[in-house]
Symmetry: C2
Subunit: 510 residues, 2 copies
């Protein structure tokens, strides 16, 4: 047998191994996506009494999925493909990324997972109770258990500098405490400067948002806007849920939800644009790469960049408001009959510190994230104790936003995240905004007359650009790499700063 | 160690084994019910392009479920519990029934299951094509493959008298060709007599059903009727789908769907009553027995008895129509303003042979089933060939219903069942009607003043009776046993015959 023949046989053997890896990834993805269907149904249509059995069904399937993801068979497949040089670039990347995740998964034993699941479930109940009683003391003991568990998890995962790195990496592969800190030094300085610029300037009027907006009409407009963005209704749908979200079972079934407040249309409209932005990313993932890293989104931060790009950079721009002004007036003549497009634009973009993160404007929002980032980092590094959180929270809100926190429900108890053990998640929200500004800057450079296209409600060139530069690659590249491919450098906060300067010059006429 | 102590240890050991069996049954049920969620979503809300990946996801989970249901672990557990005398009655029944199902499942290899899945999928596509081209010849070759496969399946399952017994047993445990044949001798004779009685009598007027009925109003009325029946909305919901169905993920989440035809309210109203009847059975199963035979419905026939009891014995009775007459008039004054309740009742119950099974009245419906039963039996027993089906169909429809079949779409191609390989399913529809009449007769005897309660829209005593006598037992008893417990004898067609006589005396005034 000639060496050539041997090489061929090896190649065929590798092909088969890679094929087996793909088949197993498909099965893993199938179960993962079935869990997403169960979650969607639970949030959107499940009758209330179905909750108990649904939790049990999810637990059963999660157990099977965990076993599959950490099985010897899977591990052996990856092991035999890891050093293989006959794989092409994307295949190599898939194996490397799959290996990285397997390695993390294996560090958490089934016993740890079950303990985590129990503690989070108890913590969530305790958070609900604490909110009802408006008392942080009710939540503190369980939150301490969650923090201890997260610190244990960080040790299990391992890290180089800070244990918080290990947690950040779970949501944003490669992200470290150091990177976030450096970005936030700029954020803090620039936003403080920004505040001083608009200080004393009169706030735009936004009383017209306090009106009645028919639910059916809001939903009709939401659908129209999502359609214009390029959201594919044959591969998705819009429903109502208590907390708006996007979920995807594959690129051909990526669903969004919204929430309608009849007293204020902003929640449904910009909520839908935001979720449709997430869903366009999912619908744009390559179908042929289903279940593989090359067919999956990169990270929470990049996902959030897609939603925020559409919501803020596009949807809250003066161009967009002008373009859709006829529609807003047609749908809601009573509310906006005597309002001009630019009044609407300015009202929509008013900067006004709010105690609640999710009600905050694009600027003060990031102080909320900074506050949470600092608290999380110090908790995980053991420099802060849970019992002191309420005081720390209130002091920092005063410092950053000049607001007094009247009660824990409006302060330290406002977010669900910590009760779920989501430490390291919050920073990805800010990263999303910063990446969005950076990407959008380059989209504007790359697409001839982008503003004119948007004026004409033609979002195809923008979507096409996002598809080509981001969506189609799945997770073949890291956040850092995709950012460098598009912009020539890693995450740079200056683009967001420039975006704010430009936008708020219009809003505050400075 | 005393013998007593030994016995205790054995009892504890058995307890633990039974506990393990229960835990495994829960996991099996979880996966089975997750498949039902995927099915519900597919029929009700899934966007069209999601179909491909959904099929793949269902196949993956089905494979895992099949492995679990036929695993050595499960088999060993059942084996060690099978002869155990320390189990109580219900536990023994659960083990016996679980063993029966395992034994059947193990007779079909994974290779057979995969072949079956492929053939059915191809047959379904071919049936769709045949209907489009209105040509039985297009479907015949694939149908022949399905029939051959079903015959092979019957051999794998094994049988005593007819291979068709093995297929019937899959839908109605214990049912045999012989039993069905005997019942249908009565059916044929009695229904023929019945026809001669009403022959020549003027048909009731039902032109008023040909009207406009607002969709939203129909749905409102559907909800009202289901609520009155006792359908628990905290443990279910009503949606729209192309083909109405009931699905249950557990007793706390049993959902129904309906279809609305704005030109005729009968589809949605009696369709909803029918599905709600199914769902009341599911909601009435004991929660503590989740996943066990003692927490599952008995059979398709008994399930159908619940839906038809509510739809026909209750919902199409003159009492029901009189009780709800104000509602019908309130919802649809234009259609029914000049109609009396008894005119409506008579119109609703007109006997008029129809080429299409699902459009048929309560009487001629059973000729449709007889026809299909005879064809299936002869095909599976090898006495008829697929190529002759169209001719056999048309000849028999002429004989039974005196109708000429103008085209295969209105004849042999009308049902989806055969393309899915559902041979042995049709007879359970008729059994459902017959069981319903038999049960209802005894409900009327057992519940003081049942008619008065129904007059007052009080369905609680009836539901309570069904819960106590049928629902709460799950599948602890067989169809035959439950029927004997309630009525002192097995299935007896005479109750249905008496029911028809009484009802149609009112309808046709004979």
């Amino acid at each position: 047998m000639s060496p050539l023949k041997n090489a061929n046989i090896t190649a065929i053997f590798m092909d088969k191994t890679y094929q087996k890896y793909k088949e197993l990834r498909h099965k893993i993805a199938d179960l993962d996506n079935i869990l997403a269907v169960l979650g969607w149904d639970q949030e959107v249509y499940m009758p209330i009494d179905g909750a108990g059995f649904r939790a049990q069904q999810i637990a059963s399937l999660s157990g099977i999925l965990h076993d599959m993801c950490t099985s010897q068979e899977y591990s052996d497949l990856l092991e035999s493909l890891k050093e293989n040089q006959s794989l092409n670039f994307i295949e190599k990347r898939n194996i490397a990324e799959s290996w990285r995740i397997l390695d993390k998964n294996r560090k958490l034993s089934r016993a740890f997972m079950e303990r985590q699941s129990r503690i989070h479930s108890e913590a969530y109940q305790s958070w609900i109770k604490a909110r009802q009683e408006n008392s942080f003391a009710v939540f503190a003991p369980k939150l301490k258990e969650v923090v201890d568990l997260q610190r244990e998890k960080a040790e299990l995962f391992g890290y180089v500098v800070s244990p918080y790195d290990a947690l950040l990496d779970d949501y944003e592969p490669g992200l470290t405490t150091d990177i976030v800190e450096k970005v936030f030094i700029d954020v803090k300085k620039n936003l403080t400067d920004f505040f001083s610029k608009i200080k004393g300037r009169p706030h735009p009027d936004y009383a017209f948002f306090d009106n009645h907006f028919d639910k059916a009409k809001q939903l009709e407009l939401c659908r129209e806007l999502a359609t214009d963005m390029g959201y594919d209704w044959n591969a998705g749908r819009l429903d109502l849920s208590e907390h708006p979200f996007t979920t995807s079972f594959n690129a051909k079934d990526a669903r969004i939800t919204t929430r309608v407040n009849e007293k204020d249309l902003r929640e449904s409209i910009w909520g839908t644009i935001h979720e449709a932005g997430h869903a366009l990313y999912e619908q744009g993932l390559p179908v042929s790469e289903y279940g593989l890293p090359s067919g999956s989104p990169i990270s929470l931060g990049i996902h959030e960049s897609q939603s925020r790009l559409w919501e803020n950079n596009v949807g809250k721009s003066s161009t967009y408001i002008k373009t859709y002004w006829n529609q807003f007036q047609k749908y809601f003549p009573e509310a906006f009959g005597n309002v001009s497009d630019m009044q609407f634009f300015r009202g929509l973009n008013t900067v006004k510190p709010d105690l609640i993160r999710i009600n905050s404007d694009e600027v003060t929002y990031h102080f909320h994230i900074l506050l949470r980032f600092e608290i999380e980092k110090n908790l995980i590094e053991g420099k802060t104790e849970v019992k002191d959180l309420e005081e720390i929270w209130n002091t920092n809100i005063k410092e950053y936003l000049d607001l007094d926190v009247p009660s824990p429900k409006l302060g330290v108890l406002q977010d669900i995240h910590w009760s779920h053990g989501s430490f390291g998640y919050f920073p990805t929200y800010s990263l999303g905004s910063f990446y969005a500004a950076q990407f959008y800057h380059f989209a504007e450079k790359a697409i001839p007359d982008l503003q004119k296209e948007l004026d004409a409600k033609n979002f195809k060139p923008l979507l096409q650009w996002l598809r080509e530069n981001i969506h189609q690659h799945g997770h073949t590249y890291s956040s850092e790499e995709i950012c460098k491919r598009i912009t020539g450098e890693g995450l740079n906060y200056k683009y967001f700063n420039n975006y704010l300067d430009k936008k708020y010059a219009e809003v505050y006429q400075i």
